[in-house]
């Protein structure tokens, strides 16, 4: 397990642009970190909108895109998180870092406050 590990949970409408695995691979090389990507899709088209009932679901089961970043080197990890926030904006919910380790979460949350744009 890497020293710094974070899961960034982007829900529908959160990322500023489409998250493409190819782009993530580029960022992985650029920052010298390990990046994973998982897409969970549970929406159905109803009334012209992609809809989903999420109220009683586990967070991990609702539609989302999860970018995982891990590294043993703090600087690489931080730079990568910053790069992801710049490209996609930072995740927006209070539970968007669920599944991260403490060290990774601390950095990712700190960067949200300074680079999140709010």
């Amino acid at each position: 397990m890497a020293k710094y590990f974070v899961k960034l949970r982007y829900f529908p409408g959160d990322p500023l642009e489409e998250i493409r695995e190819k782009d993530l691979q580029g960022l992985e090389k650029q920052y010298g970190v390990k990046i994973s990507y998982e897409k969970i899709e549970n929406r159905e088209m109803k009334e012209g909108l992609l809809m989903e009932r999420t109220l009683d679901k586990r967070i991990e089961e609702v539609t989302q895109e999860v970018i995982g970043v891990s590294s043993d080197r703090e600087e690489n990890f931080s730079d990568c998180i910053r790069g992801l926030y710049k490209k996609y904006r930072c995740p927006r919910t209070a539970y968007s870092l669920l599944g991260s380790n403490e060290a990774g979460q601390k950095i990712a949350k700190g960067l949200m406050n300074t680079h999140g744009g709010w």
């Binding site: 909108l49 109220l55 919910t93």
Partner: protein, 284 residues
């Protein structure tokens, strides 16, 4: 055709009431039936933040006040004129109190088509920066489409009657809203602001020092200066992010709010342990 005026001023016979009545006379001249509610005559309790309107599908826990009556009046109308004075940089507290209670209307945002116009009497030029921010929020959360807005400089009680241009403007805005209802034309007739959607003049500089945002709509753009003029360019695709679009609202409720129940429940024991000292602190 019914036009409803919501009066956010406590003062009877004050400038807000006079301007609203003048606007209603204008609407009436176009065949509208009219009604005015002084919001401070009604009990508008604070939102209790219980979240039941969000988690139990549109049930407001606050049943002992008049907010549902106010909402039903808005529902019955075909158009709304909002009037409220500016006492301290923004609109009066009753407007904000009503905004906070509008969570229950979240499912209507962007889905109903009803025009609204805004009249704000104020005393000192340059002391009104946030008035149209609040009116924009209220109209948007009520699902209304703003077709015009006006800030009118006037001070003492009823002094606005000494300003024929202001009175003419208000009358015209009343006629205008009646025409908008009749012709189903809700295009914005006021002065265009920086944001082409909400027509406000605010921009917020984001922390990257590169991007600006319309704080009302949440749409990002770029600031530039050409010929000594400050401009903001919003990219076409950025409008997909506009806060008051029905799909954006849907995503907000579905993914930012509803799943928080799961987080809330799974952290119950930890929260209970960590909050013990706060329950005991200053409890007597």
């Amino acid at each position: 055709m019914k036009v409803l005026a919501l009066n956010g001023s406590f003062r009877k016979g004050g400038n807000t009431e006079i301007l609203l009545k003048q606007a209603l006379m204008g609407a009436e001249s176009q065949g509208a039936t009219v009604e005015i509610l002084r919001l401070t005559d009604y009990r508008i309790g604070p939102c209790r933040g219980c979240g039941l309107c969000l988690f139990r599908e549109n049930v407001c826990q606050v049943q002992d006040d008049d907010v549902s009556l106010i909402f039903s009046k808005v529902d019955e109308s075909d158009g709304v004129i909002l009037g409220a004075p500016c006492y301290f940089l923004e609109l009066t507290a009753v407007v904000k109190q009503l905004i906070d209670r509008c969570w229950i209307l979240g499912h209507k945002i962007g889905k109903i088509r009803k025009p609204a116009t805004v009249i704000v009497p104020y005393a000192t030029r340059g002391w009104i920066p946030y008035v149209f921010v609040q009116s924009n929020i209220l109209l948007n959360v009520m699902g209304l489409t703003k077709i015009n807005e006006a800030a009118i400089c006037t001070q003492g009680i009823s002094e606005v009657v000494l300003d024929p241009e202001a009175m003419e403007l208000a009358y015209g805005m009343g006629k205008e809203i009646a025409a908008a209802i009749r012709e189903k034309d809700f295009t914005y007739k006021g002065e265009p602001g920086i944001c082409p959607s909400c027509h406000d003049w605010h921009v917020r500089i984001l922390r990257d020092h590169e991007t600006v945002e319309c704080p009302m709509c949440g749409v990002r753009g770029k600031l530039s200066v050409s010929d000594g003029k400050i401009r903001v360019q919003f990219e076409e695709k950025a409008w997909a992010d506009s806060r008051f679009r029905p799909d954006v609202q849907y995503n907000h409720f579905t993914y930012h709010i509803a799943p928080s129940k799961d987080y809330f429940l799974r952290t119950k024991e930890e929260r209970k342990a960590r909050t013990q000292k706060y329950r005991e602190y200053l409890a007597k």
